[in-house]
Amino acid sequence: MLARRIVRHGLTLVATVLLGGFLAATLVRLAPGFAVDEQQLDPRLNSESIRALRETRLEQRNIFRFYFHFFERAARGDLGTSISLGQPVSRLLRQRVPLTVRLVGIGLLLSWMVAMALALSAAWLRVSAYDALTTILTGTFLCLPAAVLALLSVLWNVPGSLAIGLIVFPRVYRYARNLLAKAYGLPHIITARAKGLSELRILFWHVIPVAGPQLLAVAGVSVSIAVGAAIPVEALCGLAGVGQLAWQAALARDLPLLVNITILVTMVTLLANSGADVIGHMLRGQPA
């Protein structure tokens, strides 16, 4: 059953990634001004170089041909060359992925620590004033655009990972609080409390097994939120990660770069969600 589930997730991932990359390529191809390349205006280029540039563009005009060649080359490890930055995409990604992984990783860790601390304390204390306070705090962050938080992090000289954490934590808190409150309201947990079981024992033996699989699903979604948050944070904080690269590629309509980043982002988010689903399934020990 588990193997079937993993295979199903794998197939979905491959199909979605292929389709996502194709849609991104189609969008760029259909965008106005696609065939115009300002490199052709460079007076230092001779006629042969300009012809070579035009031929490259010609290949990209047929979207199916571009996509077929793209995967053919990708299988050999060649992800193409960025039009706007003039560098191999694989090198650009190798240079920038570590920073984004670090930012998103630390951001997620911070956001989960704060969200779970607030959600658990709210569920334990069950004091309406405290609950209202945490709701107002997280609500305020939810009402701030991610890009504003990025700008404020520049203004206050706060690390980018903290900005990502602040963007993600209210969303995680909202789900975590509801799940924990629901779990603490279950009859067998109320009975356990009435019998005088310690809070830690109730948490680890009764609450986590109930809320755990759903919290895992939230963890999968939070990766997608954090990756999305990395775009404004990196773009506005001047951090040279994949988020900034995505922003630059979008502005420059850099087809090879944009297709690769779309595939990468789709893969990361789908892997996170599929991973969360499979682990949740294993924890539950039953088909979902």
Partner: protein, 270 residues
């Protein structure tokens, strides 16, 4: 909570009222330049000072509020209609239709919202007239923002499809199209209303994000996104606090929407 909801509704009505009255409150308009008073601090002539090319910030906030508050509901309406069409039909038809529609939905949902938005927005012409940029920005929000609502509507339509009264209607020989328009769609109204209202603050925030990243409404047209872009040049928060007025207004409006919507969200959850 109902008191807070009442206060939130009053705040929203006040903000909408003031923004609608923008031509009377700021008759000079949002684009007029006072070149002798560029980057001026608040004064009796310019309540919120002027920007770096001498435009009255108060007028720009009023007109920007009007644009954001009028077009976000329009985008929400478009996305809700699309969600009703795609999600509602998929849920009602079921089988391969539902699987195909949900596969497309999953594809959109697999990409982070902001990434999807900046990618597609960048594909649109950037060097266009301000009015077209407003339409493109909000049209895009509406055209891309239907996916999560479609999932909810698909589930709701699916449960309606299997309900007794729809089975009875089908057994009575009512054609499928009529069944959908007359019996299924009207019963999806509560979910549609909730999705519509939930989308508005999400779209306001998305437009703000796009504006700050330079992909939103084009100059000289103001919107909350383009007004917030001014924060980029700030040296410290305390130096020019009046530049935070658009941000405070945005937070107040989005918070008010959240308070008003808490009931709608409960309905969707139910």
């Amino acid at each position: 909570m109902s008191v807070w909801r009442g206060v939130a509704i009053a705040v929203l009505l006040l903000v909408v009222g003031v923004s609608v009255a923008a031509p009377w409150l700021a008759p000079a308009g949002y684009a007029r330049q006072y070149r002798e008073a560029a980057s001026a601090s608040p004064s009796r002539q310019h309540w919120l000072g002027t920007d770096e090319i001498g435009r009255d910030r108060f007028a720009r906030v009023l007109y920007g509020t009007r644009i954001s508050l009028l077009l976000a509901p329009a985008a929400a309406l478009l996305s809700t209609l699309l969600a009703a069409l795609v999600g509602g039909l998929a849920g009602y038809l079921g089988g391969a239709w539902a699987r195909a529609a949900m596969a497309v939905t999953d594809l959109f949902l697999a990409l982070p919202w902001l990434f999807l938005l900046i990618t597609v927005r960048a594909m649109m012409p950037l060097n266009v007239s301000p009015m077209i940029s407003v339409v493109v920005t909000f049209l895009l929000l509406g055209l891309l923002g239907w996916t999560s609502a479609a999932r909810v509507l698909c589930a709701a339509a699916e449960s309606l499809r299997n309900s007794d009264y729809v089975r009875q209607a089908r057994a009575s020989g009512i054609p499928g199209a009529r069944l959908f328009w007359v019996h299924v769609l009207p019963n999806l109204k509560p979910v549609l209303y909730a999705q519509f209202w939930i989308s508005i603050p999400a779209f306001i925030l998305s437009e703000a994000n796009l504006g700050i990243l330079g992909l939103g409404v084009a100059e000289p047209m103001p919107s909350w996104g383009s007004l917030l872009k001014e924060l980029e040049g700030l040296v410290s928060v305390g130096a020019e606090p009046w530049k935070f007025v658009p941000l405070v207004l945005l937070v107040v409006v989005v918070t008010s929407f959240q308070l008003v919507l808490s009931r709608q969200e409960d309905e969707v959850a139910a």
